[in-house]
């Protein structure tokens, strides 16, 4: 905002109060009684505000603050929280990278072993599936089984068995997770 031909703007008054010399403002003040009054009042306000006393709390304020700190969650001699420790973060990153690097290196150095494990696992899974199918085929020829087999076919029965087995394994894992104690401390609110 700049000075209008009629009156000073807020910025002009600010400059005046800050002691910034502006010729246009002073020239205007010489001719405008309203702005002179406004400027005089603003100056009075600023002077009175600057003269307002600085108040003080009752003596012993620092002691009361320290007492409030001591009863709070953070002790006076605060230990740097672990989550902000740069050293712990660096160590975690180094360990993670080291673990990943070691895993990759070992895998590259033991490819034949990994392949044999892979074959073994696949064979085991295949065996399980075949065993499951054989079990189903060996089941008594009940009306229910006959009806299921007829309606879904061999593949459908296999899928049902796989789904039941997967749900059973997932349930076991979930129970195990729930039963496992937390490894990291839980921070309680103060």
């Amino acid at each position: 905002m700049t000075a209008t031909p009629s009156h000073l703007s807020w910025d002009d008054l600010d400059d005046l109060l800050m002691g910034t010399e502006r010729q246009a403002v002073h020239v205007h003040l010489e001719t405008c009684a309203a702005c002179r009054k406004l400027a005089s009042l603003d100056l009075e306000i600023v002077v009175q505000l600057q003269r307002l006393p600085t108040l003080a709390p009752r003596s012993g304020f620092a002691d009361r603050v320290m007492a409030g700190l001591a009863t709070g969650a953070v002790p006076v001699r605060a230990v740097t929280p672990l989550h902000t420790s740069r050293w712990l973060k660096a160590a975690t990153v180094i360990l993670a990278l080291g673990g990943i690097g070691t895993s990759v290196g070992w895998s590259l150095a033991n490819q034949s072993l990994l392949q044999s494990w892979q074959v073994g696992v696949l064979d085991a899974l295949r065996g399980l599936l075949q065993g499951g199918l054989a079990l189903i085929q060996a089941m008594p020829q009940s009306a229910l089984i006959t009806a299921l087999r007829d309606s879904l076919g061999g593949v459908g029965v296999g899928l049902i068995v796989t789904g039941v087995a997967t749900a059973y394994l997932a349930g076991m894992l979930l129970v195990q997770r729930l039963m496992t104690l937390p490894r990291r401390p839980v921070h309680h609110a103060a």
Partner: protein
Amino acid sequence: MPPLDVRSAADQEIVALAREGAEYAYRELIRRYERPVFSLIYRMVRDRETAEDLAQETFIKVLNAIATYRPEFKFSSWVFKIANNTAIDHLRRRELDTLSLDGSPHATTPESVEATALQIGSDRGSPLDVLESKELGGEIEAAIKQLRPEYRSCILLRHVEGRPYEEIAEMLDLPLGTVKTYIHRARTELRLALQHLRE
């Protein structure tokens, strides 16, 4: 035992010591800022007892969060920001009465009235000057109390604490233009109060 030159050390040096948990550093920070923080909060909430509680709460927040303070910002700005937010939060939670030049509206005994009344004015000058100064100062104090909390914060930080516009904008998380508008509007309202006195 604190170092002998702790009082002449810069804020950042004291903060660094406080981060290590040095109690003397905590006390030095409180000593440096207790009066301006209390003054600002007192003029915001207009009750001494409440102002003391809020000032105490401010310093506890400051010292508890000292590890998160970023040194690239002025420590004083950070402290005033927390103080102002604490006062504004209190005002938003409660509706306050407007009169307390003559003591807190909650004061019930003469001693508590005197303890909570604002003491203003100067001991110098003629009795008429003193009365006029008191009346004018009283008008300013009363007029400040009538301002909206946002205007009050800005005008006190600008002309009582002497903070520049940019710093106030940073403290209050407001655009610079908004701070200037608030201060100008606050001065306009204070001007009206003074005009009434002069007529």
